[in-house]
């Protein structure tokens, strides 16, 4: 049941997108998310969806990965869109009941919210599907490096991030094992009312925390015994390298930005 979570999952591959520099991918994904808010008319949406469709094609991954990545969040998106739809005043009023109303402005904003959300989540899914967690951590560290001037602990932050990412699958596996063990002892995780379900979580969470703390302790010992010092200037095994492909990606997204701005005013 837990392994069906695609959100934040990396699928190894050799596509052009897989091989892009993680710094470039992080910055460009964020940039894309920002310009997703520049969309106004249907032309701009067609452009953005065509672009993201092209990106999905370039990942070389089956479309079903993306459907699964968005799946768990679709209700959140729909819920937000419905709130927008029911509470936005302005324009022609089609229907209203108490404070709830459906207006032409409401329909416009909720459609915009829905489509923008879809763009943003798809792009975030592209990022995590094609970038190994450790590469993301490396990218974040490289991007945060300027903050060292103000004594921000960049190396430790990056380490925390990579350790956390590294242990997500391990903890999911462990949670699955403990769930099975407790189900075998008669716990029903998917049956009964809210209180019963919440109580069923306790025999899952306590062993999970005990395991996680034990693991953290072991990891700290292992790191110290190998001479980990924290803030010293560490060299790295994986050196990030900026390639022509990264420059091309930057140019492509800048062009997208320009075209978007032009289409906005049509």
């Amino acid at each position: 049941m837990l392994e069906q979570l695609t959100l934040g999952r990396y699928i190894p591959g050799h596509s052009w997108l897989h091989r892009l520099d993680p710094r470039a991918k992080l910055v460009l994904a964020c940039y894309f998310i920002v310009i997703a808010f520049l969309t106004t008319n249907w032309l701009t949406y067609v452009l953005m969806f065509a672009f993201i469709g092209g990106v999905i094609f370039l990942t070389g991954l089956s479309f079903s990965y993306f459907v699964r990545g968005i799946g768990p969040l679709i209700w959140l998106i729909v819920f937000t869109a419905i709130l927008q739809l029911l509470f936005t005043p302005g324009g022609h009023i089609y229907w209203h009941w108490g404070i709830l109303m459906i207006t032409s402005t409401g329909i416009q904003t909720s459609t915009a919210v829905f489509l923008r959300f879809l763009l943003i989540i798809t792009m975030a899914t592209v990022l995590t599907l094609t970038t190994a967690p450790l590469a993301i951590a490396d990218g974040v560290e490289a991007l945060l490096r300027p903050l060292r001037v103000i004594h921000f602990p960049v190396a430790q932050t990056a380490l925390m991030l990579s350790v956390a990412l590294r242990f997500v699958p391990t903890l999911l596996d462990e949670a699955q094992t403990i769930m099975n063990a407790q189900r075998a002892r008669g716990v029903e995780f998917n049956n009964g009312g809210l209180i019963k379900r919440l109580r069923a979580i306790v025999p899952l969470l306590i062993p999970l925390f005990v395991g996680a703390i034990g693991r953290a302790d072991d990891l700290a010992t292992a790191m110290e015994s190998r001479g980990y010092q924290g803030a010293t200037n560490r060299t790295r095994y994986r050196v990030l390298k900026w390639h022509n492909a990264d420059t091309i990606a930057v140019v492509v997204i800048l062009v997208l930005n320009v075209v978007l701005v032009v289409l906005r005013h049509m």
Binding site: E3, Q4, I11, L61, S62, S64, Y65, R68, E174, T177, I178, N180, A181, Q182, R183, A184, R185, G186, V187, E188, N190, N191, V202, P203, I206, P207, V210, G211
Partner: protein, 287 residues
């Protein structure tokens, strides 16, 4: 027949990019009150197989029968609870499932979930603690204060307390020292005899297969490739090696003796069988 697998297939996450075969057309039967060992190298499907025994996994196709229960792809979760009670599962490193404030309450957790009253559950817990050799003074302690070996006994007692008729053990002696391992296996043999249990043991210890099992199932690449008595399974040492398995210590020892001129009618699997067959062959002056 206590347990029957009839053409059982299992797919992990069918119709998705993550689809993977877990079990492929597995059929076998296990008689009541027998001791069955499941062997095979890591990732061969042993754990997937045993999770079908109490409905933690449901077959994608085929039927699993455990006494009066029938498990198919269509079985709903509601009907699984009595199966969970009927088949006790001791997972790998079962001490990881402990969570309650006292040993006693942790052991009573299963019986309480299966609808026993508080008093019944406590009395079952005490009985189970006694069966696995936990001293009474530990019952009021926190399970997290105990040693690793004791924690494992608490976890096993927690499974036994629900009074299962079938006991599934997934590498129950992993991580124990040789003495703890021997004690634990002897304990399971005694429990089986006293409570008339059907025992299924997943193991990498060939000596345990030789010493305790009535029947062994060999898994490889999600398939059941051989089923038979330990003598039948270990009869062909070359085949055993090809499956990345090993011979029991006594059989291995006997093989070395054969190269030194000893002869055996059949390959001895246990120290006892080895001793019996060697008796007539040792030179007299050695006594």
């Amino acid at each position: 027949m206590a347990i029957t697998f009839d053409h059982v297939n299992y797919m992990y996450q069918p119709n998705s990019p993550f689809e993977a075969v877990g079990l492929s057309d597995v059929s076998f039967t296990v008689p009541s009150e027998s001791f069955t060992a499941i062997i095979g190298h890591t990732g061969s499907g042993k754990s997937t197989l045993v999770q079908h025994l109490n409905g933690l996994l449901k077959p994608t196709s085929g039927t699993v029968t455990v006494d009066d229960f029938q498990l198919t792809a269509k079985t709903t979760n509601k009907h699984l609870k009595s199966l969970h009670q009927h088949v006790g599962m001791v997972f790998q490193f079962p001490e990881n499932q402990l969570f309650d404030q006292t040993v006693e309450r942790d052991i009573a957790f299963g019986p309480l979930n299966f609808g026993f009253t508080n008093e019944e559950a406590m009395s079952l817990a005490h009985q189970a603690a006694h069966d696995v050799g936990l001293p009474d003074e530990l019952l009021k302690r926190s399970p997290f204060e105990l040693s690793g070996g004791q924690m494992r006994r608490v976890a096993i007692a927690g499974v036994l307390a629900s009074q299962p008729r079938v006991l599934v053990l997934d590498e129950p002696t992993a991580g124990l020292d040789p003495r703890g391992r021997a004690e634990m296996m002897a304990m399971f043999a005694k429990l089986k005899a006293d409570q008339h249990l059907t025992v299924i043991l997943v193991t990498h210890q060939m000596d345990d297969v030789a010493d305790y099992a009535d029947q062994a199932l060999v898994m490889a690449h999600s398939n059941l490739i051989k089923a038979g008595t330990p003598a039948e399974i270990f009869a062909d040492p070359e085949w055993v090696k090809a499956q990345q398995l090993a011979l029991p210590t006594a059989a291995n020892f006997a093989q070395h003796l054969v190269t030194r001129g000893f002869e055996f009618d059949s390959l001895p699997l246990t120290a006892e069988q080895l001793a019996i067959q060697l008796r007539g062959q040792l030179p007299k002056e050695g006594r």
